[in-house]
């Protein structure tokens, strides 16, 4: 039977019950306006619903009854016993039809005309009292009629209409003639009853306790062989399991209940945003605990709205991207290993990684260096961080204040996890994994510092046996980086945290140095928790901790184990937060370098790294395309020089220091220009700091520009140009050949800072320009006098003697260079300076930190000059 119809029957039966009582009351106190209003409302609701469900017979009867009740309510008629009986008669008819509906799924056939006519007559104010009695009586014969006609229908209909045959149904229809009042209700009421949620919750609590007690008994029985309790205990155990399952079922609801608002939401959204959206919902009958259902309702709604609002493009954009105009949002729910997986996917534009990067930097969530070391997926996960919304403008649809971080928090609160996969131009898939129920979870019991703890199984990825010290055996060894424990797990470094340390339990190192590592997944990150021992898994009932312990966020609750002892349940999310792992993977040490602020001069983001043992070196971050950490084995040798396969190509590597073949991994700074890439092998990447750069000692060694104080320590500044040339001639020649065809464009650099000259020259050379550099405006003007010719000039603004503005005016004043493109290179790229620059004659204005922008600007200026 149709769900809607079932609901209707349940509800109507309840209403009919209420009506019986209310009408009897009405007879006794005809002037009770509240009572009358309630009666009217109940009948009105029945009428309205039947109209909606397409039940004409019911509707007509209810309508006629409602008319009379309306008159009573308005005081036009007075509720005499005769009228009340007439209405009761109408109710009986409704019950009869409802009973038939419940039995056969159809209204049945019957003639209600006399009843309706009588009711109408009463409503019209005809003096019915005397006639009412007969009018009320005649109905029974017609009521008898439907069963007479109905049985053939009833006999045929049940199998297809009602999956569970209700033997009571048919008799009840027949009985009806004799006992009209009791007829309909039992047939329908037998299928569903309404129970308050509290009763179910109490039942669940009791069953949870029962499960615990059962576990306790089983534990006891295990210690005794051949106990006479064994068999009954087995039986008790089975029954308890069945009971648990049964009670769980009472709490289960199809996930479709949380989805029923979505089609409307998506329709409105499509309408408001002028998009075409098709919502497909799969697995709507997947059941899960109502508590969980309630908790994921809002996050789901939010995510679907997000997909429609931000994810899907408008029809025009979709057309131009070669996609069908109608965007698809697919919701898919299914069971997987004791969990429910919900996927929300769209075929929209995907997440804009660049935008997320910019936002992450702007919000101080990560530095450029960290971002460049991150995978695309890691970057995309930034949308789960607080205060992150990629839609530049907050639309009315997605609203404000609620972001994906709230979604993530809510899902994690119920022990779930959320992940995403997004491909630019193809769409985004969010995957939510939530437990079936919150009440009973499976947990891994571990020991640390002589105390036992439970870790919810859902967050455990794997268990690794490791040793604390190097020794015999093939176990992995916990290594330390400056007292921070890490583990090499397959091809990754797994950050570790000792549970002893974390919980302040003191050192309880086992004699054999053995330990277990519980690899847990927190969001996108893996974290290894070092424990002393691992016991088995146990079904536990999560109980909240006492209020005085709520501030200890490491625990999500506590429980009683089978042996009767109390045990704390660890919260991997809390642990990750405490260790800083959840914050997108950056380790705590990464941001500790002091960063000065407010010093005038050229503040540059510098990448600090270690080379040649203890040599602290730095390179402007803008020059580095990516940071990589590769396996030593990946480094091969070609023509006597180290190379590596990198993104489908061979990348030459240059060793900055004597590399240590013992190290399993190699840190690389990758310099990329177009198709070319070069890797600089360094010992270790330390940090990224922003500092003013003042080279205090000029470099005596090749490859070092000089020494500067960065982050409060003497640091050698890398001569990038030198190292780029070390990668081979190709670096410059190939690119120049490819880029500018027959003739290389000549660019003059006017820059007083030796450092920036050193920086820009190789960079522009690499980009295919022939570069000359001078250290002052005067020197540049001397070149002009000597008849040198260039295609473009790049000049600094702040220079001693003659500054960039004066230089620009001098160039524009006349001479062979007067029409050359002039590009200003400066640390101050604010509108005021740009305006001043333009007035002085500069063609373009580029900030010093943006190396790509400079190349783009030069190319643009040149192509404007030579459109060929």
């Amino acid at each position: 039977m149709d769900d809607l119809l079932t609901d209707f029957l349940t509800e109507t039966n309840e209403s009919l019950g209420d009506l019986d009582v209310a009408l009897v009351t009405l007879e006794r106190t005809p002037d009770d306006a509240d009572n009358l209003a309630q009666i009217f409302r109940l009948v009105h609701t029945i009428k309205g619903t039947c109209g909606f469900l397409g039940l004409p017979r019911l509707e007509k009867v209810a309508h006629a009854g409602e008319n009379v009740l309306g008159k009573l309510r308005d005081g036009v008629l007075k509720a005499t016993p005769a009228i009340v009986s007439q209405i009761l008669g109408a109710l009986d008819r409704i019950k009869a039809i409802v009973a038939n509906l419940a039995a056969t799924g159809a209204e049945g056939v019957g003639d209600d005309q006399p009843l309706i006519a009588a009711l109408d007559a009463t409503a019209a104010g005809q003096p019915t009292p005397a006639k009412a009695e007969p009018a009320a009586l005649p109905p029974p014969p017609p009521v008898v009629a439907p069963p007479v006609v109905a049985p053939p229908v009833a006999i045929e209909a049940p199998p297809p209409a009602a999956p569970t045959p209700r033997p009571a149904a048919e008799p009840s229809v027949e009985e009806h003639a004799a006992a009209p009042n009791a007829a309909g209700a039992p047939a329908v009421a037998a299928q569903t009853i309404r129970v308050t949620v509290d009763v179910l919750e109490d039942l669940m609590t009791l069953v949870s306790e029962l499960v615990l007690t059962r576990n306790q008994l089983l534990q006891l029985a295990r210690t005794q062989d051949n106990s006479s309790f064994t068999v009954p205990l087995q039986r008790l155990s089975h029954i308890t399991s069945d009971l648990q399952e049964g009670v769980m079922k009472t709490r289960m609801q199809p996930i479709g209940n949380a989805w029923n608002k979505l089609p409307r939401l998506v329709r409105d959204l499509a309408h408001d945003m002028d998009k075409k959206i098709e919502l497909t919902m799969l697995g709507a009958d997947t059941e899960l605990d109502r508590q969980v259902l309630e908790l994921i309702k809002d996050p789901l709604t939010h995510m679907v709205r997000n997909s429609g609002d931000h994810g899907l493009e408008g029809p025009a954009e979709r057309r131009s991207a070669g996609k069908p105009e109608t965007g698809r949002i697919v919701l898919n729910a299914f069971h997987e290993g004791g969990h429910i997986i919900i996927e929300i996917s769209d075929d929209g534009r995907g997440l804009a990684v660049e935008k997320i990067k910019a936002k992450a930097i702007a919000n101080g969530l990560a530095t450029e260096a960290e971002l460049s070391a991150m995978s695309e997926n890691q970057i995309q996960r930034f949308i789960f961080r607080a205060g992150f919304s990629t839609a530049a403008a907050i639309t009315a649809v997605s609203g404000r204040g609620v972001g994906m971080d709230v979604v993530k928090t809510n899902i994690e609160k119920i022990g779930g996890a959320i992940d995403l996969k997004s491909t630019a131009g193809e769409g985004t898939v969010f995957t939510i994994k939530i437990p079936l129920t919150l009440a009973i979870v499976s947990a891994l019991i571990v020991e640390a510092g002589k105390e036992r703890f439970a870790i919810p199984q859902i967050s455990v990825v794997e268990l690794v046996r490791a040793r604390r010290t190097h020794g015999s055996g093939s176990d992995s060894v916990i290594e330390h980086v400056n007292n921070t424990p890490v583990l090499r797990l397959r091809d990754r470094l797994l950050p570790l945290i000792g549970l002893n340390t974390l919980l302040g339990l003191g050192d309880t190192q086992d004699d054999d140095g053995g330990a277990y590592i519980v690899v847990t997944q927190v969001g996108a990150n893996l974290l290894g928790i070092i424990v002393d021992r691992v016991f088995d898994t146990e079904e536990i009932v999560v109980k909240p901790v006492a209020p005085i312990l709520r501030h200890v966020t490491m625990f999500s609750g506590n429980t009683i184990l089978g042996d009767g002892s109390v045990i704390m349940i660890l919260d991997p999310n809390g642990i990750a937060r405490a260790t800083g792992v959840a914050a997108g993977g950056e380790s705590k040490t990464f941001n500790t370098a002091p960063t000065e602020t407010n010093r005038s001069g050229e503040r540059v983001s510098m990448l600090l790294f270690r080379a040649n043992g203890d040599q602290r070196m730095a390179v402007p971050l803008g020059l580095v395309a990516r940071l990589e950490d590769v396996e030593r084995e990946k480094i091969e040798t070609a023509s006597g020089a180290p190379v590596m396969q990198y993104r489908g190509k061979l990348m030459p590597l240059v060793a900055l220091s004597q590399h240590d073949p013992e190290q399993p991994r190699q840190a690389l700074l990758v310099f990329v220009d177009g198709e070319l890439a070069m890797g600089l092998m360094v010992d270790e990447i330390i940090d990224v700091v922003e500092d003013s750069l003042a080279i205090e000692l000029s470099g005596a060694r090749a490859g070092v520009l000089g020494t500067a104080v960065i982050g409060g320590k003497a640091t050698d500044i890398l001569d990038t140009g030198y190292w780029l040339t070390q990668a081979g001639q190709d670096w410059f020649h190939t690119s120049s050949g490819e880029r500018s065809g027959a003739r290389q464009s000549r660019v003059l650099i006017v820059e007083d800072s030796g450092f920036f000259r050193q920086l820009i020259v190789p960079m522009l050379s690499a980009a295919g320009f022939r570069v000359s550099a001078v250290d002052s405006a005067k020197a540049a003007l001397r070149l002009q006098e000597s008849g040198e010719m260039f295609d473009a000039i790049v000049s600094d603004i702040d220079m001693p003697d003659m500054d960039g503005l004066a230089f620009a005016r001098a160039v524009r004043a006349g001479g062979p260079w007067a029409d050359l493109p002039l590009i200003a290179l400066t640390a101050h790229a604010d509108p005021r300076h740009i305006e001043a620059g333009r007035e002085a004659g500069f063609t373009d204005y580029v900030a010093k930190s943006q190396r790509d922008a400079l190349i783009v600007s030069i190319r643009q200026c040149l192509s404007e000059l030579n459109p060929a």
């Binding site: 105390e451 919980l503 200890v552 490491m554 506590n558 009683i560 045990i567 704390m568």
Partner: protein, 157 residues
């Protein structure tokens, strides 16, 4: 009239309150019997890492998890010698059960109001904060503990 007055004074003074007596660091203390849910012998107590020092841990009381509070620590007294068996008095506060760890629970006594006195002004603040007054017994003094305040740990952070 005189007798009547005397009677009245007598009835007030004779009004009895029932206490569970206990000792903590050799001091006799009393807790109103109505505040006590259970008296427990030595229990297995699970330590709770990172909890405030007064919290000894949690224990299982017939399927309910009870937070154990160390009365000695609460009253800033030195810890007992290790392996001293300790008893607990279970009380309820805000729907939660708490167990007060004490050295020894002795008996249930009825005490007359006339033997009751307010805290002496010189009583140490760590005690005065948790005591409502003192009963004079034959040879000893009994400090009446205020269970509500003893359990109000969360308010103090």
């Amino acid at each position: 009239m005189t007798t009547e007055l005397l009677d009245r004074v007598d009835t007030a003074a004779d009004e009895e309150q029932v206490f569970v007596t206990l000792t903590v660091a050799d001091q006799l203390c009393g807790v109103p019997v109505l505040a006590v849910r259970d008296i427990l012998g030595e229990q297995i107590i699970t330590r709770i890492p990172l909890a405030p020092p007064e919290i000894a841990g949690s224990l299982n009381l017939r399927g309910r998890i009870v937070t154990a509070i160390d009365l000695r620590r609460r009253l800033r007294l030195p810890d007992p010698a290790p392996d001293t068996g300790r008893m607990s008095v279970v009380a309820e506060q805000g729907g939660e059960l708490y167990a007060l760890l004490v050295d020894q629970v002795s008996e249930v006594v009825s005490l007359k109001a006339r033997d009751f006195e307010r805290n002496p002004a010189t009583l140490e603040p760590s005690w005065a904060a948790f005591s409502t007054g003192i009963y004079r017994l034959g040879e000893r003094l009994l400090v009446v503990l205020d269970v509500g305040r003893l359990l109000a740990l969360s308010e103090q952070g």
